[in-house]
Symmetry: C2
Subunit: 336 residues, 2 copies
């Protein structure tokens, strides 16, 4: 017993295929009574239009695709929630693929999504150097894309971003105002704009408060990166008074190593992180961190994409920058 098709339903009712189709897409040129009749019978037989065939002829799917590097940290899952919320409201389904920080896989993911005729894409780049020509080509083919979180400057697409510079400045300033000097920055993956901007913010805070430029250590985003750097610092005997890390994972990695070696947080070393992992308020001591409006990021990205899908062809790329919050916790409170 195979799938029941529109033909079966039409024959069953003694009407033509086109009429059934009209009923399902409720077109104007069908008598309301016959429409109801068809819909009722369809329900009865369990008929549902085959979306594959529909996609093939309509060249659209009412699916949108989201591509993220990972969802092990809570950041991406949370923005995903935002995306889903508005998309489901509008009758879209959300297909998610993770690229595992590999740009080859990212490309493959985007390709399958496009091949599956998603009506649009929301993507957070794995690397800013790697696939951008491919994305530009996609854009010229008029496929709606909005980037978030990790993007690249010179691409004419909509983006929803976070003001990394501003909030890195605030975070650093917070440390300065707490009376800390000689702050060290553990910077993120150097090729990402967000790393660069956080670094810039760190530097700007120093010049603003007429301090010597703070020390910068190339670190990375993973817990192990933070651990490694902390160990190096301990070996060299260069124990900083305060640390501003480019994200929570590296902050926590460093913090743990320092704790293991007997340093007290924040008495000996103050620490602030970035991007509010869900560890921040549970770890000991609780970690001061910049919180991004994750849900909101997802929602605006989705809304932007929807607009773009609606006015296909005649849209102007928008860049929306969202606001955050600095959650001050124990790890950065100067005890004196």
């Amino acid at each position: 017993m195979k799938h029941i098709t529109i033909k079966d339903l039409a024959k069953e009712l003694g009407v033509s295929i086109s009429t059934v189709s009209r009923a399902f897409n409720n077109k104007y040129d069908i008598k309301p009574e016959t429409r109801d009749l068809i819909l009722k019978k369809a329900e009865e037989l369990g008929y549902r239009p085959n979306p594959i065939a529909r996609k093939l002829i309509q060249q659209r799917s009412y699916n949108i695709g989201v591509v993220v590097p990972e969802f092990e940290n809570s950041f991406f899952p949370k923005v995903l929630m935002g995306v889903q919320e508005v998309m489901h409201d509008k009758g879209y389904q959300v297909l998610v693929m993770q690229s595992n920080y590999s740009w080859e896989m990212e490309k493959k993911n985007v390709e399958t999504l496009v091949d599956n005729m998603v009506d649009g894409l929301i993507v957070s780049l794995t690397s800013e150097n790697q696939n951008i020509d491919y994305y530009k080509k996609l854009l010229t083919q008029n496929i709606p894309i909005v980037f978030f979180n990790r993007t690249v400057e010179d691409i004419a697409a909509s983006k929803v971003l976070f003001d990394d510079f501003k909030w890195a400045l605030f975070a650093t300033e917070h440390l300065i105002l707490q009376g800390y000097q000689h702050i060290v920055h553990l910077s993120g993956a150097p090729h990402l704009t967000l790393s660069k901007n956080r670094l810039k913010g760190f530097k700007q805070a120093h010049t603003k408060h007429r301090l010597e430029p703070g020390k910068v250590i190339q670190c990375g985003f993973r817990t192990e990166d933070g651990e490694r750097v902390a160990k190096e610092l301990i070996e060299k005997g260069e124990i900083p008074r305060a640390i501003f890390a480019a994200n929570d994972s590296s902050a926590i990695g460093a913090m743990n190593v320092f704790k293991q070696h007997g340093y007290k947080i924040p008495q000996d070393i103050a620490i602030v992180g970035f991007t509010e992992s869900n560890l921040a308020k549970h770890i000991y001591p609780t970690l001061t961190s910049v919180e991004q409006p994750t849900q909101d990021i997802g929602q605006t990205a989705a809304t932007l994409l929807l607009e773009q899908i609606a006015n296909k062809g005649v849209f102007v790329p928008q860049t929306i920058v969202l606001n955050g919050r600095l959650n001050v916790r124990e790890s950065s409170m100067n005890p004196q």
Copy 2:
């Protein structure tokens, strides 16, 4: 300028459509030279077979769908990694949908996935009572499904499970062997088999060691559930010597509340959790917890599904139970 189709490519080369198709599906009845010629030209023109059309006629997609309740906790993302690993190896793409702990959404997700002609499904149930008739229908329609983590007994599908009973017993036993008595169990959502089994394990540990039955408090899986229960216990003045929680989130919630009220962990109260959240080894004190083989769960689920896809029609449902590990940490170490 539209998509380039098989027809364009055929005309360009002066061969028939069928020959081009044969080249791409490398069938036996095509001359190797013409195949190479076609493939080269295709590369040149940027032609790729339209998967929608292909799905429509082949009734298969080389996509598989995964439906999970959420991916905010690291559990599901990690099994997802396992799934992706083996699926990508075999040339499958993985579409992920989250049902947000709503069985209506779960059903919708499964429907879109099926409509999109995924070759199979891997799902973790949101509720064990709600959609199971629907799943049974799917099964009779010969759609390969494997369940994991949250499943239901009387359904003839493959499952990959964890021996919650055994590991709950071990976890409780660990507390007993550390010298703790009067252990309280914070149980999970009562309608889930995994909650029941963890509860059973808790009880079994007591009878095995000839102890009074331990107290059970209906709690839930979220951090707030643990917080609520802890507050209630404090109000009533019934401070337990040890707690075995049905998962890490509730354990952590309870732990935080107790800590805030001045109780020392583990000196005053020992705690062990379940399912090794990524908080466990970062929180203070570090949390003893049962670790599930997440990656492995994903891999076996994927392998099982692949088998089932291969021998469609003539397969016997398999249930695979995987082993875990008890990570003993500070929160349960009896100081004396």
